[in-house]
Symmetry: none
Amino acid sequence: MVEDEAPIRDMLCFVLEQNGYQPHTAGDYDSALNQLMEPYPDLVLLDWMLPGGSGIQIAKKMKQHELTRNIPIIMITARGEEEDKVRGLEVGADDYVTKPFSPKELMARIKAVIRRVAPTSLDEVIDVQGLKLDPVSHRVTSNDEPLEMGPTEFRLLHFFMTHPERVYSREQLLDHVWGTNVYVEDRTVDVHIRRLRKAISLHGHDALVQTVRGSGYRFSVK
Amino acid sequence: MVEDEAPIRDMLCFVLEQNGYQPHTAGDYDSALNQLMEPYPDLVLLDWMLPGGSGIQIAKKMKQHELTRNIPIIMITARGEEEDKVRGLEVGADDYVTKPFSPKELMARIKAVIRRVAPTSLDEVIDVQGLKLDPVSHRVTSNDEPLEMGPTEFRLLHFFMTHPERVYSREQLLDHVWGTNVYVEDRTVDVHIRRLRKAISLHGHDALVQTVRGSGYRFSVK
DNA sequence: CATTTGCGTGACATTTTCGTGAAGCTTTTC
DNA sequence: GAAAAGCTTCACGAAAATGTCACGCAAATG
């Protein structure tokens, strides 16, 4: 949370902790950028009205660097500051709340953004019915037997396992797994889906990658 | 979407369809007003710079009539036209975007407006008497038992469940579920209605899809 | 009650979509 | 710098989905 006024910081911290989050705060530009890498946040609450107008600077910096580009941003604007909203959304903020806002509204937006962007937390071993993926060691096992796959298949599986129970079109998968602004044919996804299925088919785990005809693919336990 | 320039219309249509919306377009005042009632839109994207300054006229007309008063409006303005923005918000626009705008910004605003106006019905599981539809995972269950159906039947059911207790003619259903400018026979709807009923008949949920003789179909709990 | 109108239903041809193997090219590895 | 591995595209066949029609039944009409 980047917010220069201490009372508001405290209030927000209280609300966030009440809801099970672990807020880290920053009051100015430098402090905010320092905390981007350590501790790496799941979401940034960014006050747009920082002294010196540095809110937009922070957002821009985040979008420039690979590691912080995908951290979702919710910006906090004052009512009526329409220009700020426009610029914020242009820069890539995912959502915004307008001061004054109710804690309930803020929580709803945080949950919505996190659910959309990163349903599962990072850097922990993900286990779905014995199919385990370790983002740190870059290993995948099926009932503790090691599996082999290419880099793209690994990223694809990682994305799927952190975003389960949700349909993604081929273009969305290209955006999330390949990266934005990559000109690759839609159907290329099919081939990697096939390779991924083949790679994790050992104990029938290929059934987790499901085709949703006309829409895309889904990673699901059901 | 009311926009007089065809290239921009096409671009916006493309973006909207990519994001799962079903845009209907109008290029002028008359065409726009005609489409307000049929097909009844969930949201109006209104270009403020229509020839003859008729953008504001459309907004005024909408606010005068009972049935169109509550349809949210997002207006599209040129950068710097502050007076237009002020007048637009006075007349009752819910939000605005400034040309040129990024697709991401437009989508964020559309979602924000829809969420504010109709908190439910977006990305949430819809449950009608045990018949559940999850727009995110693209799943339908009847008393928690999974149901199978084709893409068209899914879209049809999704439309029905978000617009219950209201009769729709075959042509209206074609507009909303198939999309504009599709030349398909009216009677084709019958067949898909039948397939939908069959698909959700597990626990008698087919009774929710009702025939209104001479008028069309209705999704209703009564 | 006879007729007309509107709707349900099964079948079928066509189109769309997806899985799959192979080939060519690029990147990485040793 | 050569070999291996990986990525992308293409082509083809299989499967699913779609649109249309014909027929029969049921509801409205008068």
